[in-house]
């Protein structure tokens, strides 16, 4: 689990946007979001003591 991966993907997304490569930028943004959500589920394991 590479904690730095979302930041690396985002930086690559910025670089591709700078070069006006729209398709690659969108793919890298999507990858940033997917990895961020996946890492979140990896870390959010403790049950919360709430009832609704």
């Amino acid at each position: 689990m590479y904690m730095f991966l979302p930041f690396l993907l985002a930086l690559a997304g910025c670089a591709s946007a700078w070069r006006s490569r729209a398709g690659l930028s969108y793919a890298l943004w999507s990858a940033t979001i997917v990895v961020t959500v996946a890492w979140f589920f990896h870390h959010a394991t403790d049950p919360l003591k709430f009832s609704f």
Binding site: M1, P6, F7, A10, L11, A17, A22, H42, H43, D46
Partner: protein, 183 residues
């Protein structure tokens, strides 16, 4: 002949500056007070960076509805992550994680900011309609937009470097106290 800059372009630049400000405040606390970000804190930063990418795409690739959708999705993700952390420290007597700014911890501010970004996008749509400029479609290439772009990219790079130093090639400790690669 000078062409008037579309209101959407200015608001996107301001949006990206706002995201850069959020990242700068978080980074200042990390460097000045030596408070290392926890995994959920880092993911909130990643969420804000994804929000910033939406503003950035509007500036560099032209203003599109899909870019605003990216901003909204990223805000939702950031909001859910911060809501989880708020919930973890909600119990009475829990001191919370890290320093407080104006009485609120950073994850609470992150939740407020995520909601604020959704409101900001709504405001952008309203202002674009009010000013009658609905299709600010051209990418921005001026000095001001390039400077805002550079500041944001620098902050993303700084976060990448700091996360590598803090966590190495693995997952971070839940309560990190030192940089893994600077031991």
């Amino acid at each position: 002949m000078s062409e008037q800059r579309p209101v959407g372009a200015i608001l996107n630049m301001l949006g990206l500056l706002g995201i850069s400000l959020i990242l700068t405040v978080a980074f200042t606390y990390q460097l000045a007070l030596g408070e290392l970000p926890c995994p959920l804190c880092l993911l909130q930063r990643a969420g804000f960076i994804a929000v910033g990418m939406g503003f950035l795409f509007n500036m560099r690739l032209g203003e599109r509805g899909s870019h605003y959708a990216m901003i909204l999705v990223s805000s939702l993700v950031t909001g859910f992550i911060s809501m989880r952390q708020v919930s973890l420290h909600l119990a009475p007597g829990d001191p919370g994680y890290g320093s407080a700014l104006f009485g609120l911890h950073f994850y609470t501010w992150a939740l407020i900011a995520a909601i604020g970004i959704v409101c900001y996008v709504a405001l952008v749509f309203i202002l674009k309609d009010v000013t009658g400029k609905r299709d600010g479609d051209a990418p921005l290439n001026g000095a001001a937009s390039n400077t805002v772009f550079a500041i944001f990219a620098l902050l993303v790079a700084a976060n990448l470097l700091s996360t590598v130093l803090e966590c190495g090639a693995g997952q971070c400790d839940d309560n990190p106290v030192r940089y893994l690669l600077l031991k």
